[in-house]
Amino acid sequence: MSVGSLIAGGFGAVLTPTGIFLMLVGVAVGIVFGALPGLSATMAIALFLPVTYAMASTDAMTLLMALFIGAISGGLISAILLRIPGTPSSVATCFDGHPLVAKGQAAKALGVGVVFSFLGTIFSTILLMFLAPQIAKVAINFGNFEFFSIAIFSLTMIATLSSGNMVKGIIAGVLGFMFSTVGTDAIEATQRFTFGQTTLKSGFDMLAVMVGLFAVGEIIAAAETSHHQDKEEITQPSMKGVKGFGFSLREFFGQGWNAIRSAVIGMGIGILPGIGGGTSNMLAYTVAKNSDKHPEEFGTGRIDGIVASETANNATIGGAMVPLLTLGIPGDTTTAMLLGALTLHNLTPGPLLFENQADVVYGIFAAMLISSVIMLFMEYFGLRVFVRLLSIPKYILLPCILVLCTIGAYNLKNNMSQVIACIMFGVIGFAFKKFAIPSTPFILGFILGPLCEQNYRRGLMRTNGNFVPFLTAPISAVFLGVAAFVIILAATKPLRAKKKAEKMAKAANPAK
């Protein structure tokens, strides 16, 4: 089938009455989750998974992609109006967004944010549509060596980059990996760490682990702070006399280069495992600031800052979908959740998906494009409704979310086993928070662990115990080499920082 007819087929599959309805609901709910501080894209997808159990796979993915896009963009509402980022993806949006509100230009700030969110998503989705099939064509030849090395590479990136403390990052990854070894071994069919429990034979369910860690853990953590609610008064932005999206065409074209650069940064960060929207918006903002003629004006209400942050974080979506769809490797928690959703619908992401279920893949692409158009209009023109929803108190919202998590976990096996697992992982998630252990490496260790282990063992069986082919297969060698480089770089970072500090001290006090 030609690419053209595949794309047309994708739009056809999504543009049904059901599909359009699902996208409208998904984008709206996503924006609310993004806008509410403490709720995230990951949680939105977790909660809507049970709703998709009974749906056709294209409908399910349509809804989840709409939620993803809405939630990443929705963070800008609270970032601009409250100066609190709704999600980590919108941290840099606060810097120039709120000063603009203080100047009475709320409509302009929001308009710029929404329009460039939209452009970021569209840019990255189109790039994804061209890149992903090509990568899938290469990846179809990948064997045990390549998949082992890619899994090792991803785990290394995630463990070293996702938190300030590398030891804790690696510990989290190792713990996740350890949890994945519970159950029946896929190669030898022997029991591992099941302690004679029948329910443990099939291992821990990926979704129960994620919902527990991210949703239930979040609720227990909220119990700590919910008594001191900050009484933020949200001002409804005045839209009187505002034409279009509140900014002029000249201002729009003035941002061209900044937007393209930020979109490329966002896309690139998205493709790399372990660093997601939380990093890309900050990086794009810093680059925009440093390459500007007047960096001192940043933070006082320049639209450039909003453009950089919002274009980059939404472009990260398309980037993160590349390794997920082509290799089956999630780079962050949101795509990990999407992996869970795909598996639930008996779809195995990876190169074969493009051959066997190209209709689903192109349905996802179409859903991403249409959802961003819906997001553009819904977020800007429905803003007053979303702002009103920001005042729903957390003490009502969180218990309701827990009930939805429970339903989702119950429906995984139609018994209580996964509900219990879910609460257990919630407690682990809370403990992680208290001990400052990052949970992203844990989740990815849990998901990538089996991929890494099975490909290693199968690979060795093919070579009769010889490890050399792992190092001589070119693609495998590249990934292992980069992984080794990242480890060395991260391990020597404190040493280099010390040397630099000494040098600085010497330069400052030459007399000593």
Binding site: P50, I170, V174, Q191, Y395, I396, Y410, M416, Y456, L460
Partner: protein, 170 residues
């Protein structure tokens, strides 16, 4: 500067010791995994990865313990917000409410247990000046009704059954 024994000060130390114990237990237990040497050679047996992971965790937890001791010795201590008694109580109650909820669910069914849980949990989390029990009860009942209708009828999924479900004919 006085050296107080706060949670934050010895956080990494506690964590390191707990993980060290876990690592040792896991490594020892990994050696009990049954392998099939005739079927799979020892270099790719089911024991390999658990053993490696266990040893890795032991090494990492020792690193963490060293980090923890260093942090403990240094006088740099950030001012941290101390947990008040109310906060601790509300964490404990939240946790208790969840446990009771999953105990009740299979016994008295989705509708009854969810109404009870929601009411209790909202009351626990709400700041005392906003505590409006009637409002909370209405929210609990309405939300339970909506989810029951949406999931059981709309999406025809299974939910734990109890007396009220039986009465309604589900």
């Amino acid at each position: 500067m006085s050296k107080k024994l706060t949670f934050k000060r010895c956080r990494d130390l506690i964590l390191g010791v707990v993980l060290l114990a876990l690592g040792i237990f896991y490594t020892i237990y990994a050696q009990q995994i049954k392998t099939r040497p005739k079927l799979t050679p020892s270099y790719s047996s089911a024991r390999i990865f658990p053993t490696l992971l266990g040893i890795l965790l032991i090494i990492l937890s020792v690193c963490l313990i060293i980090q923890g001791i260093r942090a403990f010795k240094s006088n740099e201590e950030e001012e941290t917000k101390k947990l008040s008694r109310v906060d601790l109580l509300s964490i404990a109650l939240t946790f208790a409410a969840m446990i009771v909820y999953i105990i009740l669910l299979p016994r008295i069914g989705f509708i009854l247990s969810t109404v009870i849980y929601l009411f209790a949990q909202i009351t626990i989390l709400a700041p005392s000046e906003k505590r409006n029990l009637l409002q909370f009860a209405i929210i609990a009942v309405v939300f339970t009704a909506i989810t029951f209708v949406a999931f059981r009828i709309g999406l025809s999924q299974m939910l734990p059954r109890g007396p009220i479900e039986a009465l309604l004919g589900f």
